[in-house]
Amino acid sequence: MIFLPIFFVVLITGIILGFIFERSQFCTVRILNNAFSMKAYEGLIGLIVLILLSTILFNLALFSGIVARFNILHIMDLTPAAICAPTFIPWMNFVGAFLFGVGMVFAGMCVAGMLFRMGEGYLSSFLTFLGIALGFTMISFLNEIRIGLPSFFAGITHELCPPGVMFYDILGLDPISIIITFSAFYIALIIVIKKMR
């Protein structure tokens, strides 16, 4: 019962996002396919706007202390870092991301696409769901019997809140300069894409 506020917030935000995903058909595969195969860039601009706005809002919330003040994850003895600061093992992360990218094109949907299509009644998305569960279990099992894959559950190497080793820490730069640089890059990208249309 003590966890109820967390699950309430999580469920409500999940429902709202599910609603938005379905209405806008917001799926990364669809966006990339439309942009690179059909030269339709509206979805790609929407995705970049999402990242740009998130970059500004997230860092504003984090550095103004709003996250530290209002975060309720401590009820479960967790910190946001437990969720949003995964282990950074470059080769493993890159291989995983590459396989994920290939897999989502094969399946014809990303995770958001899979979830909203499940709500729309696409039975094939349930197969993708099963595939994800099997693939994850397979790697976890191989990891468990120690065939050399580094453990991704054991210890969170880079903490986020309070900030641990982030990209700006690695570069030894001020976070604000990185936020401005990335935001400028996203805006430039939107302008270039708009000119391509």
């Binding site: 917030v9 469920l11 599910g18 609603f19 938005i20 209405r23 806008s24 990364t28 990339l32 195969s37 601009i45 995705l47 706007v49 999402l50 706005l53 998130s54 809002l57 997230f58 860092n59 919330a61 975060n71 309720i72 003895d77 946001p80 969720i83 949003c84 995964p86 282990t87 493993m92 992360n93 291989v95 991301a97 590459f98 994920f100 990218g101 897999g103 989502m104 094109v105 094969f106 014809g108 990303c110 958001a112 979830l115 909203f116 499940m118 709500g119 729309e120 009644g121 696409y122 039975l123 094939s124 197969l127 994800i132 994850f136 279990t137 397979m138 991704f152 990209f167 700006y168 690695i170």
Partner: protein, 168 residues
Amino acid sequence: MGSILRISNPILAGVSIAIINTLCLIFIAPYAPSGIAIGSLFVPLLFLSFFIQSMNIILQSLVQSDAFKIFLISSVWGIGTIIGSYMSAVTNGRFKFRRFNKLSGIRSLSGGLLMGIGIALMSGCNVFHVFGGLPLFVPTSILATFGIVIGALFALRLYQMILKSYEI
């Protein structure tokens, strides 16, 4: 109300997702729903615990771990997303059970399998890394976003080449 429900414009959708995701970050953590697929694996464990006594001990240690709590939160996000999209699909008349043929079934399952392996290796899905980790400058997410785009473009190119070879 009507205009709020018409979020079909990708830019408006992007803005809406960013705002809701910021609320997720403030109160909980960035939105990460992929745990629902992994969380669903706990259901057979719960079922087995009713029949096998030793499973209770395994289950108890599992329930107390941080990983379980994270998967639980992630699973509720996933369930919420399915409920939300179902509500949306029903209200705009898009809900319909759609079957799949053998080929698309194999594609969905094998694609899902690769996605599951990818999620395990990069500790998160595209939604978490692109919508959540990248704006926070998490090193894994920056690398993961790059890897996902490269992988997707490679597969799209391969797909187009296969289609072209069939045309010839």
